[in-house]
Symmetry: C2
Amino acid sequence: MSHRTTSATSRLDRSLTSRLSSAIGSAPVRLALWDGSEYCPNGVVPVGTVLIKKRSALLKLLLAPELYFGEGYSAGDIEVEGNLIEMLDAIYRAGARQPRSRWFHVFLERWLTWVQANSLGGSRRNIHHHYDIGTSFYQLWLDPQLVYTCAYFKNPNDTLENAQIAKMDHVCRKLCLQPGVSVVEAGCGWGALALHMAKHYGAVVRAFNISRDQISYARRRAELEGLGSRVEFIEDDYRNLIGKHDAFVSVGMLEHVGLNRYKDFGAVIHRCLTKRGRGFIHFIGRNRPKMLSLWTRLRIFPGGYVPALRQALGLLEEWDFSVLDVENLRLHYAQTLQHWLQRYECSREKISEMFGPEFVRMWRLYLTGSIAAFRSGSMQLFQIAFARGSDNTIPWTRDHIYRPLDEKEPETKWIPAM
Amino acid sequence: MSHRTTSATSRLDRSLTSRLSSAIGSAPVRLALWDGSEYCPNGVVPVGTVLIKKRSALLKLLLAPELYFGEGYSAGDIEVEGNLIEMLDAIYRAGARQPRSRWFHVFLERWLTWVQANSLGGSRRNIHHHYDIGTSFYQLWLDPQLVYTCAYFKNPNDTLENAQIAKMDHVCRKLCLQPGVSVVEAGCGWGALALHMAKHYGAVVRAFNISRDQISYARRRAELEGLGSRVEFIEDDYRNLIGKHDAFVSVGMLEHVGLNRYKDFGAVIHRCLTKRGRGFIHFIGRNRPKMLSLWTRLRIFPGGYVPALRQALGLLEEWDFSVLDVENLRLHYAQTLQHWLQRYECSREKISEMFGPEFVRMWRLYLTGSIAAFRSGSMQLFQIAFARGSDNTIPWTRDHIYRPLDEKEPETKWIPAM
């Protein structure tokens, strides 16, 4: 990166900014300092400008860029001119380098891993941090059913409301739900999917969650909709799942399990699923292993880990589960998040009254950063359907997913030819 | 396992048979010896009887059961009464234990790994062993297009011919083929898929194979069908693939690559695929890692390795490819193999004239064993569609796979909402 100094600036600041720019890599981003000086890679049209308003912010950025960009942006010490999504997309695509201060990074990594460990108590604290900040907050920007996971847009122009319903149907169809089947759900959010399965597919559902706010909301909704006898919401950890069920489903919870607990998670699925049971997990994943950013773990998802697809398969392999179907809905999550962000921005004044302006900026960065991650391919959204390894009652094709709901299942049961 | 001695037999033979039966595990199989004595697990109805006709066969079975069952069955020293598929299915499901003579097993493993290594020359020898034994032999029991991989039965009652055409369409649709795209195929068999892509999808195909028989047959067919200008058949190793292509496809070749060469294979795909290219691999896999049986590697597929899905994903992960779609067609391969076996048995006299009775028995065991492996879940059939990690031109949904061919693609291009 070369620099164009448009105003007087100290030699030290120039040297620091130059080091910072090399950490950003080849991303077409302009850096601007408090004194008006600007730094921009040669021969590129920058997608945006990062304005560093204080020398202390510059120093912190050098120490741990991914952490202090979030901190500085939230505090208002760093501002972005231009489209934040496009700028983050460009940075992700350029491939951020290792932070300069490795010892500091390693220290933070270890410390976070330790304090945010997903023990039974730790998971409760981690989940509480994100999901128990008030349902009224999430009601401002999620769909009316409060589905806080990737939607399924049959057409990109679908509304978020319809896309969330389509997602729930997509999940139910992949699980081959039939009236009367018993389902256990690990991590049920505000209960939309559990209620959908009971209401539209006749399933009997036992849904687990350790977020107190979410569980009490879900229980109230079940009562209001007269589904209390078919859906049981249990405030407990996935590790305490009980009973044998025809289907296991988990949507958007694997990210909170932690890589070192996948073995436990697999054992739970194994324990809870009947011999001919169907399994389904939906989670944010990656193409290859990488830690979540320090900032995300510190401020947004304590204890979170987003696995490579290969790592997630490890938990099924251990128990001889057979993967039937994997679908990647990365662009659907980018679309879902854009809907959320749009609504979020419409409510920013209200949110500022609720939590203050720093919170507004912090969560804006989380939502925009997530859009950029899904757009750039830094993150993926995987749905995996699976069954026991030796179960021959598995679906013959994917017709059950794509057949219109009113069409009867044709006779395609597998009868060995000999 | 207890035993019922229905005739006089020596103490040594009893002890040997008892050891053998414990190696088979809990499979409901009766063992019978040359002298008429029989051994059967308590309280089960056996699915079949393994008749061991010589003491030397019994001794060899104890040394390396999976190897000498194949050898003895081929030689006629071991016979099976009852349905061979069901018996092998039961044995696979029971989960065979480690062979008793571990040192012998380890020695054979190492020796086979060494002599069958998939170097450029080694691969040529390994492929020659299986695929160059005469196209006229394969014509006796494959479909008319000689597609020697798992078919796709939209309905289990479909004919093999139609199911193989449906499979080729399934592959082309997953690859989003359009007229004019350039495709490279690694391991093209007798050329059916390459020709199908050119003829029905307007693709320009470069297809690689190191089986001399198959390549010359494929070239003749291309000339006969007037496709010589659109399909180039190249007798060369996948490691020598050249050029940049819009699509990479490999059907039934990964099994011949060898686990320690996956890195090379991934590098080849990376080298050959354009930025917006589509990739597709179709292969026999497993739920968890396990070696192919010694017998299969010695007699049927030298140098073969059937990977766990997780292992196959490793080769894509290395190059930041993004998995879009995984489908498991295990039962379709069982069905395909049953068609093959049925035709094979109809031609057994002719095959016996060509290669002798021992060959007939050897290949019967290979085909029946494969049926049992896919039925019991010991083997799986995976299709993986993938793209570059940051490519946003990937299909929005799976509509392109399941839409009727004459239906136009709807306008569902992804336009970010903000």
